[in-house]
């Protein structure tokens, strides 16, 4: 299996295989190949889009002109609508990143370190929330909160609350509920790596729990907390699902919607799209660089060969209150939106709401029957997502192993670029892919990957997923004490074997976490699926969106339900057996390396 991972990575970039025969070249060629893959996946397509902010004639219909011009940037930045969008995006991003990190961090601590009832079931909640794509959650909240929506029909929604929901408050609310799993994963995986030694030492020295969390665990978790803040900030900035629904309905213009509007016409206003994408990227890079400047301390390396699991706190009667709070989060983030989607899938019209005569199984039946376009799309998406997950998690592993040993500047640069890629809306990256692979001489006639084939779609998916995999694996690998691989290196073990035999087993659960995150997200990835739709047939997200935009949201909701069940089921089939094997293979009690469900 490991070799297969390696094969996939080598297949995308320059052949790592041939290079391994030449040890001298391999030392240089290895990292170079990995960086080249990174540049090809994200750098070049992004550059082509951004370049248009200063070279508006680059892809003009009447012949390309490489003339520099500041006009589109000036025009875009001086437009009051764009200035408003920048302000809105910033406000929303900062607020939601804060609330998301608080909620996600609290959730991770409560689930991993407290003896709350039904811990196993509750630790599944972030995964299930993560399973639901943002455009579906946004639609669910519109179905729930609009003035004629389900909550109003049930008499549960005071009009004033409904009105204030469609604005900054509602956006922060939905973003927080929808993104807290990301924060919980990042902070949770760092928390799992903390082990018990430091805490035990502090307790033996007489420190109380509060003091331990403020003075020991808090500072140790700080890098993960900051990473979570930046990742969610980038995620909110790049979000399109809420931007095109709730934000749109609230006249709360954000940058991603501006880019979409500029890019959805013929001819496309490429300069305006490029200029707004440039602003978006600059905002995220600013935060990443500011973080690095403020926090020069090296990240702590925590997983050593001697780690012991941390003790769980006995909360006594308080655990029921904590349990109730966790249930509330689960209800708001998962049950209520899914309920709205299920209600829409099971009713024939929206206007007649939940009247008994309005219920029907027609939509579900159409979505589940074999040999229908919907079913074909679903199968296609599961296949593409599996392939993408293998390639992306392997690439991220290789890259993380390299980065962990390289200079802080390089690490910052790559982390910044990948977080920047998170913030770049998929639609922009998708455009970049078309420009590179359908317009650029050399790439245009390259047989594999090729624009219009499944191969380029998978490549685009990998590019969209790589930043996530990096964030997850980098945070796990960063915790490994260098002594572990140093020992192997001094014994003469080669780099690849060190990675496979020493590093990989220690962070295997993180790698699998990255794999499953990628798998689930890719099943629902929307913009790449739209822009790089293979001619052989559309993947599921394109079909779901098409149904929405063609006003068949009943069937779209039914398809989305089926897709969630399929993706979740497939992920569980991979996760649980693997977890059992790993648990079998190591002494009980070595902490899992990430915030996986137990």
């Amino acid at each position: 299996m490991v070799q297969k991972f390696d094969a996939a990575a080598g297949g995308i970039g320059a052949s790592g295989w041939a290079l391994r025969r030449l040890p001298a070249l391999a030392r240089l060629g290895g990292p170079l190949a990995v960086y080249a893959v990174f540049a090809l996946l994200i750098g070049l397509p992004l550059a082509l889009v951004l370049l248009q902010a200063v070279m508006p004639g680059l892809f003009a219909a009447d012949g390309a002109q490489a003339l520099l011009s500041a006009e589109p940037l000036v025009r875009t930045l001086s437009s009051p609508a764009v200035a408003g969008s920048i302000q809105h995006s910033l406000e929303l991003g900062l607020l939601a990143a804060f609330t998301t990190t608080v909620l996600g961090g609290a959730f991770a601590i409560l689930v991993q370190r407290c003896d709350i009832p039904l811990r196993g079931a509750i630790s599944l909640v972030p995964w299930l929330v993560f399973l639901t794509p943002s455009y579906l959650k946004a639609l669910a909240w519109v179905l729930l909160m609009s003035s004629g929506g389900y909550l109003a029909q049930l008499g549960l929604l005071p009009p004033s609350l409904g009105a204030s929901f469609f604005g900054l408050a509602g956006l922060v609310f939905v973003h927080t509920l929808s993104l807290f799993p990301l924060a919980a994963f990042i902070i949770g995986s760092a928390l799992a790596g903390l082990g018990a030694e430091l805490e035990d030492a502090a307790r033996l020295s007489g420190a109380g729990p509060l003091r331990i969390w403020l003075r020991v665990n808090g500072p140790l978790l700080a890098p993960a907390i900051v990473l979570s803040f930046i990742a969610t900030f980038a995620e909110v900035l790049s979000d399109f699902g809420l931007a095109s629904t709730i934000a749109r309905m609230s006249s709360f213009g954000v940058l991603t919607y501006g880019i979409y509007a500029a890019a959805s016409d013929y001819p496309v206003d490429f300069p305006a799209a490029g200029a707004q994408a440039l602003v978006l990227l600059a905002l995220v890079l600013l935060v990443v660089v500011a973080d690095r400047l403020l926090r020069r301390r090296a990240d702590p390396h925590l997983i050593s060969g001697r780690a012991r699991p941390a003790r769980r706190y006995q909360l006594g009667a308080w655990r029921w209150l904590v349990f109730a709070m966790a249930l509330l989060v689960a209800f708001l983030a998962l049950i209520l939106p899914l309920g709205a989607i299920a209600a829409r899938a099971l009713t024939s019209t929206l206007g007649h709401g939940l009247e008994p005569g309005n219920f029907t199984l027609v939509n579900l039946d159409a979505a589940l029957s074999l040999d229908t376009p919907a079913n074909d799309g679903l199968m296609r998406s599961l296949f593409y997502a599996g392939l993408t997950a293998i390639i992306a998690s392997t690439l991220a592993l290789l890259l993380s192993a390299r980065l962990d040993r390289s200079s802080a500047v390089m690490r910052t640069a790559v982390l910044g670029l990948s977080l920047g890629a998170v913030a770049i809306p998929g639609i922009v990256l998708g455009f970049g892919y078309i420009l590179v692979w359908n317009r650029l001489p050399g790439f245009r006639d390259w047989p594999f990957p090729h624009y219009g084939d499944g191969s380029l779609l998978v490549m685009g998916y990998v590019a969209a997923a790589l930043p996530y995999c990096l964030v997850v694996i980098l945070s796990a690998i960063g915790q490994l004490a260098p002594s572990l691989t140093d020992a192997a290196r001094l014994s003469g073990v080669g780099a690849i074997r060190r990675l496979i035999s020493v590093t990989l087993p220690l962070i295997l659960l993180s790698v699998v976490t990255a794999f499953l995150l990628t798998f689930i997200r890719t099943v629902f990835e929307l913009p790449m699926s739209q822009m790089l739709i293979p001619q052989s047939g559309p993947p599921a997200p394109t079909l779901i969106l098409k149904l929405f935009s063609h006003d068949r949201d009943g069937l779209a909701c039914a398809m989305a339900l089926a897709a969630m069940a399929a993706a979740g089921g497939a992920a569980a089939l991979i996760w649980y057996p693997l977890k059992r094997i790993i648990a079998f293979g190591r002494p009980e009690g070595i902490p899992a390396a990430s915030g996986e469900p137990s």
């Binding site: 070799q3 297969k4 390696d6 094969a7 996939a8 295989w17 219909a61 009447d62 609508a81 519109v142 179905l143 609009s146 003035s147 004629g148 469609f166 749109r248 309905m249 006249s251 213009g253 509007a261 959805s264 016409d265 013929y266 001819p267 496309v268 024939s348 019209t349 929206l350 206007g351 007649h352 376009p373 296949f383 392939l387 639609i427 455009f431 078309i434 420009l435 359908n438 317009r439 245009r444 624009y451 219009g452 084939d453 499944g454 191969s455 998978v458 739209q530 822009m531 739709i533 293979p534 001619q535 052989s536 047939g537 559309p538 394109t542 935009s549 063609h550 006003d551 068949r552 949201d553």
Partner: protein
């Protein structure tokens, strides 16, 4: 198994599995119309030719993809709502003129004849228009609007599409300015569209949603979308404004770079045949409720066709397009 062998096997399997479905079809069709899939299927069954149907989403998203492909278009045929955008693609040499004999073979209705563009940029396959969508649960029968001007009585509760994001919405705006006068039309809209959260929607589906959820009592929407909702049992009706309505043709265009001209011609022939027209009505979604433009073809039951049309002055409309779209955006969007 050695590492080398596993590696090679995995790599070739991966490559094979991705490359396998990439066999070229006889025709590649880009579209954003509900009936394109069923029509392509019927065409394949009848002729034995294969069609790859590529549907990125809405009309805007399809146009964005075509624009990104620029001078290297990957489609043979494009099939969309909207005439102006087809003209723009033809002017950029993304489309080539549809051969004259393709038009001559067809028994056009008078409406159909009026939609054929001089440039031959596209072949009209059907049409629709803009109407007032009324939620009958919110508006009593004696309070129904009868004209665009009546909409000011519903100020703040009128859902509308942003002409910057919807080609049909721009044709409606230009048509309104033509029938009601530019200044009077602007004043009318300023008094009517007082709720920005529903006056700059991005698609007809969202106008439907606003009217059905009750965020709006009335909406300005494509009439085929309203008939589709009526057929689905939703509590809405379509009211045609007394000022007259502007036609919104669906056009079929041929890529300037197509290598499959014969197949493209056969596809056009099929679409305009009785079988093709039947396939275009074989469904319950918006676009299936089009107004036929070929003699002898009846529309889907429930579809109104006795509509008072006004002919849009395309020259005036395209001359003011940037200015009027910007005005709408400044006034009613964000």
């Amino acid at each position: 198994m050695t590492i080398k062998a596993t590696l090679g096997l995995a790599l070739s399997l991966t490559a094979l599995s991705i490359a396998a479905p990439a066999c070229a079809a006889d025709l590649v069709l880009y579209d954003a119309l509900d009936f394109a899939g069923p029509v392509a299927k019927a065409f394949e069954a009848k002729t034995g030719l294969t069609v790859d149907v590529v549907e990125p989403g809405s009309t805007g998203e399809t146009l964005g993809k075509i624009a990104a492909e620029g001078g290297n278009p990957q489609f043979d045929i494009v099939w969309l709502d909207g005439s102006a955008v087809m003209e723009r693609m033809a002017a950029d040499h993304v489309l080539q003129p549809v051969p004259a004999e393709a038009y001559d073979k067809i028994a056009w209705t008078d409406l159909g004849k009026s939609l054929i563009p001089q440039s031959h940029a596209f072949l009209p396959t059907g049409t629709s228009t803009t109407a007032i969508e009324v939620n009958t649960k919110k508006v009593k029968a004696d309070k129904m609007p009868k004209s665009w001007a009546d909409l000011q009585g519903f100020a703040g509760s009128v859902a509308a599409k942003d002409p910057n994001l919807s080609g049909p919405a721009y044709q409606w705006l230009a048509g309104l300015f033509q029938t009601n006068g530019v200044e009077a039309g602007k004043e009318l809209l300023a008094r009517t569209l007082t709720n920005k959260s529903i006056s700059g929607l991005s698609s007809g589906g969202k106008v439907n949603k606003a009217v059905l959820t009750g965020d709006a009592s009335v909406g300005i929407n494509q009439d085929s979308a309203i008939f589709s909702k009526i057929a689905a049992g939703e509590p809405v009706v379509a009211v045609y404004p007394s000022e007259g309505s502007v036609s919104l043709p669906q056009g079929l265009g041929i890529s300037a770079r197509t290598q499959h001209m014969d197949a493209a011609k056969k596809f056009i022939e099929f679409v305009t045949s009785a079988d093709g027209q039947a396939a275009m009505q074989n469904g319950d979604d918006t676009d299936f409720f089009y107004i036929p433009v070929i003699k002898g073809v009846k529309p889907k039951p429930g579809r109104e066709t006795s509509i008072a049309y006004t002919h849009l002055d395309d020259k005036v409309a395209s001359a003011h397009e940037t200015e009027w779209k910007q005005w709408y955006k400044d006034k009613f969007v964000q």
